[in-house]
């Protein structure tokens, strides 16, 4: 059973690294890396363009470049998240929570090094799991249904309880607001418009990127401008920047348990059909907070807050290829475009692709692997000039970030309303920061709210119709226990500390 898989893996490896095939993933990765830095263009845009331009290409070349596109677009979004608090994509938003505070402390190099190492190793983990699961890919995916999705989002939401430790009331109100805003759009059960005020723009909800750009990037720039701080890092000379790439890379190995847990979460969430990387990043961030003994620094530049989302985000790529290739269900925009490319080139997902065309599948996997490592290594190679971007004076940087944020919001759906929403949230975010209202619970509730509601409805309806029994599903029970433990762990620790047991 394993022999054809090993043969296909070897054949795929040979095809990727043979000349001139290797040029395709290398060029595609470089293109994706460059455009990820240009405002308004993302890896997804490049994939959409490539879809039109590569109609006449053979499937091998398509696999070579699309694997690289999927891998290349993941890491670059994290760099802008760390340096400027601008998430390149939804999942990168979780990296901002601690990555940007690190840049503010002049530790951008450490954050980027940590992000690069977490990404490369996380993606390797995801790819290894993908390869191991190929023989039982379909069965593995079928384990996950709406109750499992529901419990996964509940797990993510329990993070709010831990994060709101300083001000529980304010945290819960912020989370409530996030929930409320995530419900804008259509009721998933009845399809009735909800809080749309007869505006077509609101029919599909607020979208993820414009509010995130506002509440973090724009709000931070307003705060930076108002504060009179000279640069993001507060430093003006390169030699004042502390930290190093190696410190960041080594931190992954120092926190290897966290890295492994986060990678597992990323791969697991990636495997769930239709659930994007944003869930993986936030759930991983949540477990990092919940399983840490000293949690005070999360949200204030804790390196573990970079390791967890970055490892999960990249490990997810391998996992999300499972439902994409086995059932044609993409987990995010880039896998949706990969799927479109496969179908357009006569390679529909399913059993045939996973048997007759397995070498081509491995071309995709190795190309993704190569691209993930290339982006991380190149990211590390240019870390010094990147870190120096945090030395740009606020007077120059703030207008630039406002423009980039506006372009990013517009490029999301090419709608001017999104730009307006981003700036409105920028003002809200600034006042939240100013008056000590936590923004992370808001973001977590906003990101997970819709998924939670939809899966709650489906689970309840199926349960009502007698189509499933919630407590008889092993994965549900496991996730309930995990959630319970995660939720109770901080309180148990606090209790043991107060009773003189554990040191803090």
């Amino acid at each position: 059973m394993l022999e054809p898989i090993i043969q296909a893996a070897w054949e795929g490896l040979r095809l990727v690294f043979s000349w001139p095939n290797i040029l395709y993933p290398v060029c595609a990765t470089l293109i994706t890396m460059v455009v990820a830095f240009l405002p308004g263009i993302s890896g997804v845009t490049i994939m959409a363009l490539a879809l039109s331009l590569t109609f006449s290409w053979d499937p091998l070349k398509i696999m070579l470049i699309f694997g690289a596109f999927v891998g290349g677009s993941t890491f670059m979004g994290s760099i802008t998240a760390i340096l400027f608090n601008i998430p390149g994509s939804g999942p990168s938003a979780a990296t901002m929570l601690d990555g940007y505070p690190m840049a503010q402390q002049g530790r951008a190099k450490t954050a980027i090094g940590c992000s690069a190492a977490s990404s490369a190793l996380g993606s390797t983990f995801g790819i290894l799991v993908l390869i191991l699961l190929i023989p039982m890919m379909r069965q593995a995916i079928l384990v996950f249904g709406p109750p499992e999705f529901l419990m996964l989002t509940v797990w993510g939401l329990t993070t709010i309880a831990v994060i709101t430790r300083d001000s529980v009331v304010k945290g819960l109100i912020a989370a409530g607001l996030g929930f409320l805003l995530s419900f804008i759009g259509h009721d998933p059960r009845t399809a009735e418009p909800r809080y749309t005020f007869d505006l077509l723009y609101l029919w599909d909800g607020l979208g993820l990127i414009p509010p995130l750009l506002g509440i973090f990037s724009i709000a931070e720039m307003i705060a930076l401008t108002v504060s009179g701080r000279r640069t993001i890092s507060g430093k003006t000379h390169a030699e004042d920047l502390t930290g190093s790439v190696w410190e960041g890379i080594l931190s992954v190995f120092r926190n290897f348990g966290l890295f492994l847990r986060s990678s597992m979460i990323g791969t697991l969430v990636g495997m769930i059909p239709g659930v994007g990387g944003k869930v993986a990043s936030f759930v991983a961030y949540g477990q990092a907070v919940q399983t840490s003994r000293d949690r005070e620094n999360f949200g204030r530049g804790d390196i573990r807050g970079v390791i967890a989302p970055e490892a999960a985000h990249d490990a997810k790529d391998g996992g999300s290829l499972l439902p994409t290739l086995a059932f044609g269900i993409p987990g995010n925009q880039s896998t949706a475009l990969l799927l479109a490319a496969l179908v357009l080139h006569g390679l529909p997902p399913g059993k045939e692709l996973m048997t007759s065309n397995l070498p081509l599948v491995f071309v995709l996997i190795w190309s993704l692997f190569l691209s993930n490592w290339m982006t991380s290594l190149l990211g590390v190679a240019v870390v010094n000039p990147l870190a120096r971007l945090t030395l740009i004076r606020t007077q120059l940087l703030a207008p630039l970030i406002f423009v980039l944020a506006a372009l990013g919001a517009f490029a999301y759906r090419e709608r001017m309303e999104d730009v307006l929403v981003a700036f409105l949230f920028g003002i809200v975010g600034y006042y939240m920061k100013k008056y000590g209202w936590p923004r992370i619970p808001f973001v977590i509730a906003f990101v997970l709210g819709n998924l939670f509601e939809t899966n709650l409805h489906i689970t309840m309806r199926l349960s009502h119709l007698g189509r499933l029994a919630f407590w008889t599903r092993p994965m549900v029970v496991a996730l309930v226990l995990l959630t319970g433990v995660n939720f109770a762990l901080p309180y148990l620790r606090a209790w043991r500390q107060s009773s003189g047991g554990l040191p803090k």
Partner: protein, 378 residues
């Protein structure tokens, strides 16, 4: 195109050519040349409005995200239609509000031939029947230039389901409601399930909220629901892969020559399942046949290429002609076949008439559809 003249050549010695014959022949030849010239001029003049598009930027609105069926078909049409019109087509994906954002953008654009796009006729018609306000109607709020493809739906169940034939499903339906997974209440699939189940005398319960056809289909594979009802093309690979089993074709003729549809009954026609069930349940058979036909005409109204309303007549004629030539071009069809896209092109007039007829036929089901929505909404 090549032309093989069908002529009989007589030996020049067999007959003597008279002067009159020679004059007649010359007259006929001159007449033919003049007529041909007139015809060419007429063709040239009918194409003239489209010539003004040459070299200009033409927006092609796709009401869905990149990578979907509409997007794939648009990108397939692009080079062929560009060659015909000389315009430079820029595809703009405008997803949102179930395709309404894109559809309304086309509707609101200036009717100068420089904004075209695709819309889903069944989707828009379904939204109108379910009472959603402010939904454009395909036949009246756009200028239809032609139909690219039709979409035919099937009832399918998971491979591990106890239902092996539609008879098993109907037997179960006598004892309990059938559970379907759907994406959204009020969608074309919702209408198809409501009306087809009514025609078969089956009670149904729908579980809404699944994100996309694939996710809903997986619900059937996992056994959470009994059935799904989706476009055959979109779930074909899951059927071929052995994950889904087709049980009923919502059509009057076999949807595809694919072997997986061997023995799968049809809903429509004199011998269709709707007629047989009507006979069994003591309902009017002819009415059931007509209703089933109306439903399938609605579902099959297809993917249309449209322009904004009130497009100038001559511009409409040449654009519709170019589109039809594109869609029937063997090179285009070969490219579509390579990409597993099944086409069913129709001219503007045919597509428009079919939509008007289907809309009229299905009007009678509006109370049924709205009642079903009320039930779901509690």
């Amino acid at each position: 195109m090549s032309f093989e003249p069908n002529v009989q050549i007589e030996s020049p010695l067999s007959k003597t050519i008279t002067r009159r014959k020679l004059l007649n022949a010359l007259g006929a030849a001159t007449g033919a040349v003049i007529l041909q010239g007139c015809d060419r001029r007429q063709n040239a003049s009918s194409d003239a409005p489209c010539r003004q598009l040459a070299g200009k930027r033409m927006r092609w609105i796709v009401p869905n995200a990149v990578g979907g069926g509409f997007d794939a078909e648009s990108r397939l049409i692009k080079p062929f239609f560009e060659a015909k019109t000389g315009a430079q087509i820029v595809i703009e994906n405008m997803p949102g509000a179930g395709g309404l954002v894109g559809a309304k953008t086309i509707m609101a654009a200036v009717a100068d031939g420089l904004t075209l796009g695709m819309v889903s006729a069944p989707g828009l018609l379904a939204s109108a029947f379910t009472g959603e306000a402010d939904v454009p109607m395909p036949a009246t709020d756009f200028t239809i230039l032609g139909r690219v493809a039709r979409s035919w739906q099937v009832w399918a169940t998971g491979a591990r389901s106890p239902f092996h034939a539609i008879e098993d499903v109907l037997q179960a339906a006598e004892k309990r409601p059938l559970v379907f997974a759907i994406n959204e209440v009020g969608s074309a699939n919702f209408v198809a399930i409501t009306v087809s189940a009514f025609l078969l005398g089956a009670r149904v319960e729908m579980v809404a909220g699944y994100s996309g056809n694939r996710s809903a289909s997986l619900a059937a594979v996992r056994g959470e629901v009994d059935l799904v009802c989706f476009n055959f093309d979109t779930i074909l690979d899951m059927i071929v892969g052995g994950d889904l089993r087709p049980l009923l074709q919502l059509s009057a003729e076999r949807i595809s020559a694919h072997a997986c549809l061997e023995g799968v009954p049809l809903l429509c026609g004199e011998k269709g399942l709707a007629a047989r069930r009507a006979a069994m349940l003591g309902k009017a058979i002819q009415e059931a046949v007509a209703d089933a036909r109306g439903l399938t005409d609605l579902i099959g109204a297809g993917r249309l290429v449209v322009a904004p309303p009130r497009l100038e007549a001559q511009l409409f004629q040449c654009l519709a002609k170019y589109l039809h030539e594109t869609l029937t071009d063997p090179a285009f069809q070969a490219a579509a076949a390579r990409m597993n896209r099944s086409l069913d092109p129709a001219s503007a007039d045919v597509a428009r008439n079919e939509i008007l007829t289907a809309a009229e036929k299905v009007k009678k089901f509006t109370p049924l559809i709205r009642k079903s929505m009320q039930q779901v909404r509690g």
